[in-house]
C-alpha cells in the first residue's frame, strides 16, 4: 500500500522480524519465536536464565538439527553462536577447552594445520560444540570411536537454579550423562573440554566399493570395521528390495607433502520451487550417482572435506527441497532384523517418494555416552523426504510401524513428527532423564513427545 510508510513497517514488533531465520535445517516446521537472546559472553547467561519464565528457553546453535528439537515455538531461544571463544589447548595431550558456540569448522580450521582433528565428526562441520554434545552426534567412525560425547571430558553448565556447574564422570556424573544427548534441556553449556586426535595431514586414503544387497553391505561392514576407521554407505532407495549402493571406507593418510587447497564451494541462492525435486529427477540423480561412483570404485586419496563433508560444499543445500522444506528419517534397527530394512525400502519404493541421500551405517558396540543417546548396536538408515503434506507424513507413519515392530528407534535430532509412543519405544528409560531437565528449559520436540504422557 502506498500510504504505508517505511516507518510503519518498522514499528512492527521486533520479535516477528527478528526470529524468522531461526528455523531447523529441514525448514519444517516453520515456527515463530517470541524472542531470541544472543549473549556474547558467558557472564551474561546467569541473569538471562534467572529472569526467564518456567519452561520458556532453549539453547540454539547453528540450527542443523532437522526437525523441531532446536525450536521452541512461541517461546524463546538462546542463540549461542556468539559464545565462540577457544579457551585453552594442551599441545601434548590434544585437550581443548572451548565455549559452546564454537563450530566444528572453527576447530578444524585452527587445529588441522597443527596436526589435530576432531575425534568424531558428523556429516557437516557447521554445527556447534554445544549442539554436537546436546545431540551426542556420531560419525563414520562410530564403530571404533563411539559418539562425540564419549570424547568430552568435562563441561561447564549454566543452570537456572544452581549457577555454573562443572560436570564430568566424577563431578555431577548423572547431570553430565543427561547433558550429553540431552537436547539442550539440561541447561546452557558454557564450555566443554574435548580431546582432539593426532593426524598427519588433511588426506584420507579412501576406498569405494559398490554393493548390490543389504547382506552385501553387512558383509562389507563386518569385514571393514576392524581395519578401517571410517565406514559408511550410500543407498539408492529407488532400487527397492534389491538395495544397491556404494560403500565408502577410509583411514587418515600418513601423507603430508601433497599440497592442499580448501574447497570454496557454491551455494544454493534461494529455495527451488517444490516441483523441482520430483520423483523422476530424484530417481535419475540416484541412478547417476550410483553409476558415477561405481565407475570410480577402488582406492584413492581424497581430502578430508570431500570425504567427511561432501554436502558442506553446497551451501544451503536444504533449499533444494523448496519452500515447504523436508523431513529426515533416521532409524536404528538391530542387524538381525535385516528383513525390516527390506520392508522399509519396499514401502518407500512403492510410495514413489524416494530420497536423494539414503545413508546406511553399522553402529559399533561402544556403550552410549549419554542418557538419551541415539546410537546403539544395529544398522542405522537416514533418508530425506521432501515435505509434500499428508502424503509424506503418512509414509513416514507407515515406516514408524516397521521400526517399532523390529525393536528400532528414531533419532530426535532428525525428527519433526514421531509419536510419543514411538519416542517411548525408542528411549524406554526417558523418565529417568526428566529430573535433570532445567525447569526454565523446554523445546517444541520435548513438549510434543512427552506432554501427553
Amino acid at each position: 500500500m502506498p500510504g504505508q510508510s517505511a516507518a510503519s513497517i518498522q514499528r512492527k514488533p521486533a520479535a516477528t522480524l527478528r526470529t524468522d531465520r531461526y528455523l531447523s535445517w529441514g525448514r519444517y516446521p516453520k515456527v515463530a519465536h517470541r524472542h531470541v537472546h544472543q549473549p556474547a559472553w558467558n557472564d551474561e547467561v546467569p541473569a538471562l536464565l534467572k529472569s526467564a519464565a518456567i519452561a520458556s528457553l532453549l539453547p540454539y546453535g547453528l540450527g542443523r538439527s532437522y526437525g523441531d528439537s532446536c525450536l521452541n515455538t512461541e517461546r524463546e531461544l538462546i542463540a549461542c553462536r556468539r559464545l565462540d571463544r577457544i579457551l585453552a589447548f594442551d599441545e601434548s595431550t590434544g585437550r581443548l577447552r572451548c565455549e559452546s558456540g564454537v563450530s566444528l569448522a572453527d576447530i578444524v580450521d585452527v587445529f588441522l594445520p597443527r596436526g589435530w582433528f576432531l575425534p568424531v565428526t558428523p556429516g557437516t562441520r557447521y554445527v556447534t560444540v554445544g549442539g554436537a554434545i546436546a545431540n551426542d552426534v556420531h560419525g563414520k567412525n562410530h564403530h571404533c570411536a563411539g559418539t562425540f560425547g564419549s570424547h568430552v571430558h568435562q563441561l561447564g553448565l549454566h543452570r537456572s537454579g544452581d549457577g555454573l556447574l562443572t560436570c564430568s564422570s566424577q563431578e555431577n556424573p548423572q547431570l553430565f550423562r543427561a547433558t550429553i544427548g540431552g537436547l539442550g534441556l539440561t541447561g546452557v553449556i558454557a564450555w566443554a573440554d574435548l580431546e582432539l586426535r593426532r593426524v598427519a595431514g588433511p588426506w584420507i586414503d579412501a576406498e569405494l566399493i559398490p554393493f548390490n544387497s543389504l547382506a552385501g553391505f553387512l558383509d562389507l561392514s563386518r569385514e571393514s570395521d576392524s581395519h578401517f576407521e571410517y565406514t559408511v554407505a550410500w543407498l539408492d532407495c529407488f532400487a527397492g528390495k534389491c538395495a544397491r549402493g556404494i560403500f565408502f571406507r577410509g583411514n587418515h593418510s600418513a601423507l603430508t607433502e601433497k599440497k592442499f587447497r580448501p574447497n570454496r564451494g557454491r551455494k544454493i541462492p534461494f529455495a527451488l520451487p517444490g516441483w523441482a525435486l520430483n520423483r523422476h529427477a530424484v530417481k535419475a540423480f540416484n541412478a547417476l550417482y550410483y553409476k558415477f561412483h561405481a565407475a570410480r570404485k577402488g582406492v584413492s586419496l581424497v581430502s578430508y572435506d570431500s570425504f567427511f563433508y561432501p554436502l558442506d560444499s553446497i551451501g544451503h543445500w536444504n533449499r533444494l527441497y523448496g519452500k515447504r522444506g523436508f523431513l529426515q528419517y533416521q532409524c536404528v534397527i538391530p542387524e538381525t532384523n535385516l528383513a525390516a530394512f527390506e520392508e522399509l525400502l519396499d514401502r518407500i519404493a512403492r510410495s514413489g517418494m524416494g530420497s536423494f541421500l539414503g545413508v546406511l551405517k553399522r553402529f559399533g558396540t561402544v556403550p552410549a555416552a549419554g542418557t538419551l543417546s541415539f546410537p546403539r548396536p544395529g544398522l542405522t538408515l537416514a533418508l530425506d523426504f521432501a515435505m509434500r503434506g499428508d502424503r509424506t507424513l503418512q509414509l513416514l507413519g507407515s515406516l514408524d510401524e516397521v521400526v517399532k515392530e523390529n525393536g528400532g528407534a528414531l533419532y530426535p535430532a532428525k525428527d519433526a513428527r514421531m509419536s510419543p509412543a514411538l519416542f517411548e519405544a525408542s528411549f524406554p528409560h526417558w523418565r529417568s532423564f526428566v529430573p535433570y531437565v532445567d525447569p526454565k528449559m523446554s523445546s517444541s520436540f520435548w513438549r510434543r513427545v512427552t506432554e501427553s504422557q
Partner: protein
Amino acid sequence: MSTTTRFSGSSSRWGRKVVILGATSGIALEVERQLARRGAELLLVARSPQRLAALEADLLLRGAKQVATYASDLASIQQHAQVFDFVRQSCPEYDTVLLAYGSMQDQHDSEMSVDVLLDELNVNFVSAAAILTLFAADLEQRGSGCLAVITSVAGDRGRRSNYVYGSAKGALSLFLGGLRSRLHSAGVKVITIKPGPVQTPMTDHLANAARFAEPGLVARDIVRALGRRSPDVLYTPWFWRYVMTAVRQIPEPLFKRLEL
C-alpha cells in the same frame, strides 16, 4: 608440521602492532580475529577483565603473535592517562590504534533524561576525542602510525529516531577530519570508519536487526583499510557511501517531514 601450514588459509604474516580501544565490542571482536589470523600483535583495552582473559586465550590460539590486555572503563576520562602509560610501556612500538567502543541507548531515554543524554555524548564523543588526543600527540611526535576510529553513518545526518547517537558520532567524524589534516604532514594516517547498521550486541534491540550487515564483513573492510592503501573515510558495507551521499542531498524542509 611445517609441511601442513600451507593449507592453514592464513595469508602472509603481518607484523603490525595494534592497540584496540573497546576490544570486546561486536565489531572489534571480528577485527581482532582477522588480525590474529595474520599473526598481528594485539593490545586490548576493555572494561571486563574476565572477558579480556577469554579473548586473550582465543586470539593467541587463533594465531596472534602476542596479546596484552588492560582492563579500564574508557568512558571515564580520568583513567585515560593510565591506559596510555600502559600502552607505552608494554608495547612502545605500537603502530595502529583502533577505537571501537560506543554506546547506543534507546533514543527516547535521552530525550527524557539529560543524564542519559550526557552519558551518550560522553561515551561516543567526549571520551573518544580525549583519548585520541593522547595517542595523536605521541604518533605525531614519532612521525608515523595510524589512528582508525569507528564512527557511524548515523553521524552523516541528524534523524529524529537516532540523533543523539548520531550527533555524537557526527561530532567525532568532524573531529577526525581536523585531526587528519593536522597529522597529515607528520605522516600519521587517520581513518574515519563509517559502518552502516551491523549485527552486534549494541543493535540487537532494534527492529530489522537480522537484516543488518554481518560483523565479519565489516571487519574485513576495516582490516583491509588498515593495510597499505588506506582510505581517509571508509564506508562499510561499501554502498553506504552512495546511500549517504543521496541522504545528504535531501533538503531540510523535506527531510524534517520524513520519519527516519
